[in-house]
Symmetry: C2
């Protein structure tokens, strides 16, 4: 089986895990720039046009045909809406795109819709306001702190903690697509989840974030959390996503409060792999048509991931030629 | 020779480079928390009290005696003032601390003093104001953008770009230790520099930042820049620092504009190593009393560093016992 990763970026650890799966012949990585390290770790790397460009689909189809790709695994939020809508087109070519439906992608990528989804299903989530909402109401009991963040943001970009209404006003004047959320006191847990093609939950690993860098986890530890596994299965059954997703929540004194759903591999997934949740192997088996038995709760507890930088060094003449597909 | 790295954090690449130097027997890493990945890559790792704590010096001295340490290399801004003042104490014990004088550390860690230093020596630097300065003057020709940042900050934390006086006022009201600098348009170049114990410049590698994550370089490329090497030597001759330092500047249409001096190994130094500037080997030779011939301009041009995460995975029972020195 040949697998294509789009927006592969610096997900080298993840790509190596797929390369180790017995049934995988070749892993191809594509990115919009020729300095993405994955391009040099995959069996083959290509520079392709930006998501949504005129020739985005044509280039991807051409690579799929030329390299006999069986499955596409997207890794970047902004390309998910495009690839989700193209799922059928790829399917007709015999290519599985491991991605949720456009409806699910829409809910997850829009933090306002995410909050609505959680509320509709009685899943605890922070109080969430649009700027309009916030300005028109005389919000009672305003004694706490708020988080102001972009409605369609990712990797913690543009997230600001505010202590006063004045501060909130300052930020929402800058950008009307900000939302305002009550600040939640607690520690943050990410759940790495794998769902099958029918949206059934196969595996869940909860990991506590110990240190974050640039919006992504740097140090984390797997934890025992039976209650979280239960709620997560409930969320998944209501949402019906496909493939790897991750859900973020805060653990407070009153219980968990859910904040985000990322409908793709989370950046910190390698920890869950090392804790025994081998998503690459399960995904390959799924793509080959095998039925995978759920393994909820089967993972190693108290395993620490301690991350650091490593790099690939390349001379200018060794970089991938950008002109091929651009 | 045995070397001790303090605040070793996630500088695994750097520590491995020192482990490869022929004359190095053992590398010891210390940090304030037992989840620093370097603790598990060094030959020995210890958790020690925070810089400036009551028993900080005693613990460091005890480790130096017990493990026959020849040289201490500090890696974190906030501990530099303490270690710089303790240099003589360690020297009496036969331990070299690879660090500049307290005076140099003071200039580099305070962005206001850095700007003053550059101005005094006719080195181009951004216009820099204290909040007081900024508020009291009617700054003429205010049509550009400004950067508001903490006077004593590091790793890009708290840096904000402002378009209006109102925005600047917003930030300086939050924290009076902010400074205001004119925004410089250009690309950023970092210079990895090694100086000998007398402050003489031995090696310089200029590298252009292509991508930054959490304030640290993620992708970079070494560049040809004879003019920068010349100015850098001038700066070094005025400043008189010791050991590895790095200087940051922006390359504008009017030439380079210098912004920061970090009097320690820069996070992106491994690129300069791969470009042929072997600071670890030179530092070890220096510490052994050898005279090192300057190698200015000797480095590989157009070498790219493409960084990604890797990690150490440890069970809770495999973590270093924190109680030993705390």
């Amino acid at each position: 089986m040949n697998i294509l990763f789009t927006s592969a970026g610096r997900r080298v650890e993840l790509i190596k895990l797929f390369q180790e799966v017995q049934e995988v012949d070749r892993v191809i990585a594509v990115d919009i720039g020729n300095t993405a390290p994955t391009l040099y770790c995959a069996d083959k790397g290509f520079v392709i046009p930006k998501e949504g460009s005129d020739n985005y689909l044509d280039v991807l189809l051409e690579i799929c045909r030329k390299y006999n790709i069986h499955m596409i695994i997207p890794l970047f939020d902004l390309e998910l809406p495009f690839l989700s809508k193209l799922k059928e087109t790829f399917h007709k070519e015999g290519v599985v795109v491991l991605i949720s439906s456009p409806h699910v992608i829409e809910i997850c990528l829009d933090k306002l819709q995410t909050a609505k989804f959680f509320n509709e299903h009685q899943i605890p989530t922070p109080l969430t306001y649009t700027p309009e909402d916030f300005l028109s109401r005389d919000i009672q009991g305003f004694d706490g702190q708020f988080i102001v963040k972009p409605r369609f943001g990712s990797s913690g970009k543009g997230v600001n903690k505010c202590n006063t209404k004045e501060e909130i006003n300052y930020f929402i004047r800058q950008d009307e697509t900000y939302i305002i959320q009550e600040f939640i006191r607690g520690y943050e847990v990410t759940l790495d989840i794998l769902c099958d093609f029918k949206g059934k939950c196969i595996s869940i690993v909860p990991r506590k974030r110990l240190k974050v860098r640039g919006g992504e986890v740097e140090r984390a530890v797997t934890i025992e959390a039976p209650n979280l596994l239960k709620i997560t299965q409930e969320i998944v059954s209501k949402l019906n996503p496909v493939g790897p997703i991750n859900i973020q929540c805060f653990i407070t004194e009153q219980g968990p409060v859910f904040t985000e759903i990322n409908p793709r591999f989370g950046g910190g997934y390698p920890l869950s792999y090392h804790a025994g949740a081998d998503f690459p192997k399960m995904i390959v088996k799924m793509a080959l048509g095998e039925k995978i038995a759920p393994r909820i709760g089967i993972y190693r507890r108290n395993l620490y991931m301690l991350r650091y930088d490593t790099a690939i060094y390349k001379g200018e003449d060794e970089l991938i030629d950008q002109s091929c597909y651009l």
